[in-house]
């Protein structure tokens, strides 16, 4: 139901999909899909990084979101997944995108945990209190600097890093779902890592690892790591496309959004006054 009738507990009429799957349901999906597609970033050039990102949306609109926000020294990278489908998920994605951009504009040098906590406050107020809905969001926010440092926080899938020397490392963000509780600051912790020239960082949503084959077996985390490692000497576009191809070969019917952000550290630049380790 879209702006049709105001039902209790759903002030904007943003309700679950029409169980009969009628025209309204279809319209909601179309609108949600347009919201989802329209807020994704286009080509973004960040000093020292080669980036290939993309989302394969499903008809259901699974609520995936990613973003790359340039700032004076580096960028912010975000990835998230709204637990829900359709128009409500699309609206929540739009809130995340708008709020995050505002926060970054205001505080480009903030800690990721600070922005994640502030974003959660907005989502909790909007989703739980005003929309009276129960969606929550898995979300990870990464701050990147041109010297290769990254700091990240949130609750989402592992960040995978293929090191130039061959191995794949997994970085687990620390935090909790957004929108579920009023204050996540106690659970949200910044972690840091160092990208070296030639390393490739991969962010992804659960649609990748939870894609099931005809027997119901998931593509899985270990398969993703293996495929990523096999592709890691390629450029980011080939890595992204190669993983999508592998998932498509695994499952004939992808039933959740699938998002991948592959980033190659092409170079690092060291500030004039900073000669400490930092590696």
């Amino acid at each position: 139901m879209l702006l049709r009738d105001r039902v209790p507990g759903s002030p904007l009429g943003v309700d679950d999909p029409d169980p009969a799957g009628g025209d309204n349901d279809l319209r909601e999906k179309q609108i949600a899909a347009r919201i989802q597609a329209s807020i994704l970033p286009g080509q973004v050039d960040i000093e020292g990084l080669e980036i290939a990102a993309g989302m394969l949306p499903t008809e259901m609109v699974g609520g995936d979101y990613y973003d790359i926000i340039p700032v004076k020294d580096g960028c912010w990278i975000a990835i998230g997944d709204v637990a829900g489908h359709g128009l409500a998920a699309g609206l929540i994605m739009l809130m995340i995108q708008s709020t995050l951009h505002g926060l970054v504009k205001l505080s480009p040098d903030a800690h990721p945990r600070e922005l994640v906590s502030a974003l959660n406050s907005v989502l909790f107020e909007n989703v739980r209190r005003r929309m009276k809905r129960r969606e929550h969001v898995t979300f990870c926010l990464v701050r990147y600097w041109p010297d290769g440092r990254i700091v990240f926080a949130g609750a989402h899938e592992d960040i995978l890093i293929s090191r130039a020397r061959g191995e794949v490392e997994a970085l687990t963000p620390t935090g909790t779902w957004l929108g579920a509780i009023e204050d996540v600051s106690k659970f949200t912790i910044d972690k840091a890592a160092q990208l070296q020239p030639g390393d490739v960082m991969l962010l992804y949503t659960d649609g990748v690892i939870e894609a099931r084959n005809a027997s119901g077996v998931e593509f899985g985390y270990e398969t993703l790591k293996r495929v990523f490692k096999e592709l890691s000497q390629s450029n980011p576009t080939a890595i992204r496309n190669g993983i999508v191809d592998a998932v498509r070969a695994w499952t004939p019917n992808i039933d959740d959004d699938l998002t991948l952000v592959a980033i190659r550290c092409q170079g690092v630049y060291w500030p004039e006054t900073d000669t400490d380790e930092g590696q």
Binding site: E50, R165, P197, V268
Partner: protein, 124 residues
């Protein structure tokens, strides 16, 4: 014009650098190894940036930057190499290099990196 030195034993890479920095803003000087590079840097005090490979015959890039550091030469140096070994990256940083770019590189990325160290309006 702003003078930039490329030290790399590969003609292909030197050509790629020339292409990436084409447009009349830079004069590109080329050397094939660290010994040639060292001599060129010592005799050209108007160099604004050095792009330097690591693996080269006779004298490698890290030996060259270490020697420059010993001599007190402060010309900005960016390593441009297929190497990504963190130990080598660390050595370069400790020797005073300004950055490390991996090959193959995107031409626009190299151009942006050069602009960072040779800003517009800093013509000699």
């Amino acid at each position: 014009m702003k003078k930039i030195l490329v030290v790399d034993d590969s003609e292909t890479v030197r050509h790629q650098v020339r292409q990436a920095l084409a447009g009349g803003k830079y004069t590109i000087v080329e050397c094939k190894d660290g010994i040639e590079g060292l001599e060129t840097i010592r005799t050209n005090d108007d160099l604004m940036l050095v792009l330097c490979d690591v693996d080269m015959p006779r004298m490698n890039g890290l030996e060259m930057v270490t020697e420059l550091q010993r001599l007190g030469n402060s010309v900005p140096i960016l390593m441009l190499t297929t190497e990504g070994d963190p130990a080598l990256v660390k050595r370069a940083r400790e020797a005073g290099c300004k950055g490390w770019i991996v090959k193959p590189f995107k031409p626009q990325l190299l151009a942006v990196a050069v602009t960072k160290f040779v800003p517009a309006g800093s013509d000699e």
